[in-house]
């Protein structure tokens, strides 16, 4: 009985000591990451100056500075420079600042004690050492004060770390990181090491720029991730305006990060996984969510569309959108993440993944341009864009079964940027019949060309697509309501106008499909519509 009780107690003790060690370790880490307040630095600097003055002045004949030579000037300059250059590090990293702080207090005490007691009785050697050390520390702290920490963002960074981060933790907020390779992860507040780099005017979390992060709420029970920017703004609002201003850069960067994640969510998750949701009105979009893998756990990711899908920047128009949003690298090559998406969407198509990847990219750009058109227009054009998105989405999902539309990896395939799509979409909305006819001819040439005899499967895919698109237009164009509704003029006229609208929509959908295919097989400059 006693033995078993002893075992229980032992295990309890082990658990308790384990917890305690863990707690102490966490507290220590938290402490080391927290950095040093400017108040403390100012106080220590003042203390040093005061004690040096006092200690030096009381026994002026034999003080710490009476016998230091001209080299003291060099020591002062050297330490001031060190302090200036490492201001951020020395003030932010407690592993360095705490020993410096303690050393400074010891020096202050030594100076004060020795000043009122008998420093003149000390050997010259010790007095000189104290003098040099005092000078070095004064210069160092002066350098630190004059360095990075003089700027408001530094102050803001400190305030953010000491006030906002604990509040975020209290409100169950975390940081979501979306890296340049498209991998999403969640960073707990305890794991955040936040730094301000004055020279680069940059704030980082764990050495990654803050604009790659966004605050998120994670509902552990339901496994749902939602944006936490509003909650962060609320936390900000409880602090004085002066503090808010100091932490403005942080909020701006996190807002930028939020917008970036809105775009990445659109390009990397919504369009490949549920493209039809793009045809919905914005108010309904908020409820949409998709499953994503975050830190190896599948979570429901509910994130809104970008506030505006208007692409105005030239580089955004001309570069692949996903590449642009993920990283600033100037590359048009397919990214690994794009190939991974293709692999997920179209499994068993490894031999055609390049073509599928380029198709996905062109499709993404087209959908963004159509959505943009949908947002800026109204009436029939808006309806045409909305239905185009829905029908294109259904077609895109069926591509898994239409391998014949895609050439093998050996053949070069191309993608279309947003700028080109904008121009094609404008032209198609104005003259759909002409564009349809031109595309029909372009693709028919591809089928009947003697050079393409060998690509039987691809030819069959192209022919199938042309036939499907044409049949659809003709079916809608040949709709004759008069046969059925001979006596009702109102119904006739409404049906006729519907038939006209449907025909245009059928034609536009056909145009988008044919454009996607023709631009996959030919360079953009060869596609004249």
């Amino acid at each position: 009985m006693n033995i078993s009780r002893g075992r229980v107690l032992l295990s309890e003790f082990i658990k308790f000591s384990d917890k305690s060690i863990h707690l102490i370790k966490n507290k220590f880490l938290e402490f080391t990451r927290r950095g040093f307040s400017s108040n403390k630095i100012h106080w220590i600097y003042f203390g040093l100056l005061f004690s040096a003055l006092l200690g030096g002045k009381i026994i002026a004949i034999k003080g710490p500075f009476d016998s230091i030579s001209n080299e003291s000037f060099i020591v002062a300059i050297l330490f001031a420079i060190i302090g200036y250059l490492s201001s951020n590090r020395l003030s932010n990293d407690s592993r360095i600042s705490i020993p410096l702080y303690i050393s400074s207090i010891i020096i202050i005490l030594l100076l004060l004690v020795s000043g009122f007691t008998g420093i003149h009785e000390w050997p010259n050697y010790y007095r000189n050492i104290l003098g040099y050390i005092t000078l070095a520390f004064i210069s160092l702290w002066a350098g630190i004060l004059a360095g990075d920490m003089k700027s408001p963002p530094w102050m803001g960074n400190l305030l953010f770390k000491q006030h906002i981060l604990p509040q975020m933790k209290k409100n169950d907020l975390r940081f979501l990181h979306w890296d340049g390779e498209g991998i999403i992860s969640i960073v707990e507040i305890d794991d955040v090491i936040m730094k301000w780099y004055e020279s680069r005017k940059m704030i980082t979390i764990n050495e990654l720029t803050l604009d790659q992060f966004s605050p998120v709420c994670l509902d552990e029970r339901r496994g749902v991730i939602t944006p936490g920017l509003e909650q962060l703004r609320e936390i900000y609002s409880i602090y004085p305006t002066l503090w808010e201003n100091s932490m403005k850069t942080h909020l701006e960067l996190l807002e930028k990060g939020y917008k970036r994640i809105c775009w990445l969510n659109l390009l990397q998750i919504i369009i490949p996984k549920s493209p039809s949701s793009l045809s919905q009105e914005r108010k309904w979009m908020k409820t949409n969510s998709n499953f994503v893998h975050i830190n190896d756990i599948s979570r429901k990711f509910s994130w809104p569309l970008p506030e505006s899908v208007q692409i105005s920047e030239h580089s955004m128009l001309t570069k692949p959108l996903l590449n642009y949003c993920l990283s600033e690298e100037d590359t048009d090559d397919l990214q690994q993440i794009e190939l991974e998406i293709v692999e997920q969407l179209f499994p068993k198509l490894e031999s055609r993944c390049q073509a599928y990847g380029n198709m996905l990219r062109s499709f993404t750009h087209l959908l963004v341009v159509l959505r943009q058109e949908m947002e800026i227009t109204s009436g029939s054009t808006k309806k045409q864009c909305r239905i185009s998105i829905t029908e294109l989405s259904q077609w895109f999902k069926s591509l898994n079964l239409q391998q014949e539309l895609f050439p093998e990896n050996g053949r070069e395939t191309y993608s279309v940027n947003s700028e080109q799509w904008s121009s094609w979409v404008d032209k198609s909305l104005i003259q759909p019949a002409t564009v349809f006819l031109r595309l029909h001819d372009l693709l028919s040439e591809e089928v009947t060309s003697d050079d393409n005899d060998h690509q039987g499967d691809l030819n069959s895919g192209i022919a199938g697509l042309i036939n499907e698109c044409t049949r659809r237009v003709i079916d809608t164009a040949s709709f004759r309501p008069k046969d059925n509704f001979d006596n009702d003029d109102y119904i006739i006229s409404s049906f006729i106008s519907d038939a006209g609208g449907n025909r245009k929509i059928a034609m536009l959908v056909g145009i988008w499909k044919m454009l996607l295919l023709v631009s996959l097989l030919k360079r953009t400059e060869e596609v004249t519509i």
């Binding site: 014949e404 759909p432 019949a433 002409t434 349809f436 006819l437 029909h440 028919s444 089928v447 009947t448 003697d450 005899d453 039987g456 499967d457 030819n459 069959s460 895919g461 192209i462 022919a463 199938g464 036939n467 044409t470 049949r471 237009v473 003709i474 164009a477 040949s478 038939a499 006209g500 025909r503 034609m507």
Partner: protein, 369 residues
């Protein structure tokens, strides 16, 4: 004829017809009709609307001294208007009523005696096109596979012509259509083949067919070639395939017993009946499913043979009873290129192939049904 044979042949004919119909909306049968078809297609894409402003006479062109009643009296009747418009050159207009028959290359002997024949009237049942096959004959010995020059039957653009090869086998004294890929082939233009492949890929049961590019010289004909295998097959299935491959590979399998009946002569007793039933069925299907309602089904037949005279003699009486123009021709009387397209084995082996020349008629402007 077995139900599955009937289904097999009708689904293939239907697929061919469907594809040609679909393409006929966008492509002309004649190179001279390309411009017309382009306009026609554009017209269809734009919802079949004609710009009324083309027919409105500006007020300032009407003399002041005419009042509205006089204008009304002067207005032509529909018949007069059609007559006038048919004689005008209107390259942008797509309505068949105002295109004249000579414009589409009609060379019917009775055309000269008629004043104005709009193209639309050619499409009527009982129109000139219905009697045209009586005036122009297919003569393959002289290399005439298509004696027509008009847009409807001429096929000078060589887009829609096809040769469909199938073969008949005798299995357990019954004649059947062999639905194996090796024995079913459709040759046509790149355009038709691409669409056919797409059409067939949707229907897995029809996937067993081979596609070939058709020789340009045959590209204006629509023909079905029925090869009669005079060897008897006891049971034709995958095992037979293996059996036929094993000896050539110098292999022997104890699990597969090669049947001696494999090479026996087929029982031709039931062949004439089967063949005429099959041809009638093909004719009927082409008449109802072809790209034009004016189709006559099968225009004529040729029986091409190498040595197998007995077989030809046994089938000819029943074929003659079908009331179609028919001629038996020895293979050597045909040009080698034609034999290559029809049945190249005839050059080296004895055998019989029946060529059915389908009516290649199509509607000008395409079939929208």
């Amino acid at each position: 004829m077995r139900h599955e044979d009937s289904l097999f042949i009708s689904s293939n004919i239907f697929a061919l017809s469907r594809v040609i119909k679909l393409l006929s909306i966008r492509y002309s049968q004649d190179p001279d009709g390309d411009e017309y078809m382009k306009n026609q297609f554009k017209f269809t894409l734009s919802g079949g609307k004609t710009n009324p402003s083309n027919f409105i006479v500006s007020e300032n062109l009407i003399a002041d001294n005419y009042n509205s009643k006089e204008i009304e009296e002067m207005a032509p009747t529909i018949a007069e208007l059609t007559n006038k418009l048919t004689n005008l050159s209107m390259p942008k207009e797509t309505h068949l009523a105002i295109l004249s028959a000579p414009e589409i290359g009609c060379h019917h002997p009775r055309l000269a005696s008629k004043k104005t024949v709009p193209v639309v009237s050619l499409h009527d049942l009982g129109g000139l096109c219905d009697s045209c096959p009586l005036s122009f004959k297919i003569d393959i010995e002289r290399g005439i596979f298509n004696p027509y020059r008009c847009w409807r039957r001429g096929h000078r653009a060589e887009r829609f012509g096809f040769v469909y090869n199938l073969s008949l086998h005798n299995v357990r004294d019954e004649w059947i259509i062999n639905n194996n890929k090796r024995h079913n082939k459709i040759s046509s233009s790149q355009l038709v083949l691409a669409s056919l492949r797409s059409e067939f890929s949707r229907k897995s049961e029809n996937a067993e067919i081979k596609f070939n590019l058709l020789d340009k010289r045959m590209a204006s004909t629509m023909m079905i070639v029925i090869k009669i295998k005079s060897k008897k097959v006891s049971q034709y299935d995958e095992v037979d395939e293996i059996k036929s491959i094993l000896p050539t590979q110098m292999l022997v399998s104890s699990h597969v017993e090669v049947n001696s009946a494999f090479s026996n002569s087929a029982n031709t007793e039931k062949l004439p009946e089967f063949l005429s039933e099959l041809i009638e069925s093909i004719g009927q299907k082409w008449r109802t499913n072809s790209p034009s309602k004016n189709s006559m089904g099968i225009l004529s037949m040729s029986v091409i043979y190498n040595k197998s005279k007995d077989l030809v003699e046994s089938i000819m009486p029943s074929l003659i009873n079908l009331n179609l123009k028919i001629k038996a021709i020895e293979w050597s009387k045909l040009e080698v290129e034609f034999i290559e397209s029809i049945d190249k084995t005839l050059k080296t082996e004895s055998g019989v192939s029946v060529c059915l020349f389908l009516d290649p008629i199509m509607d000008v402007g395409g079939d929208f049904n």
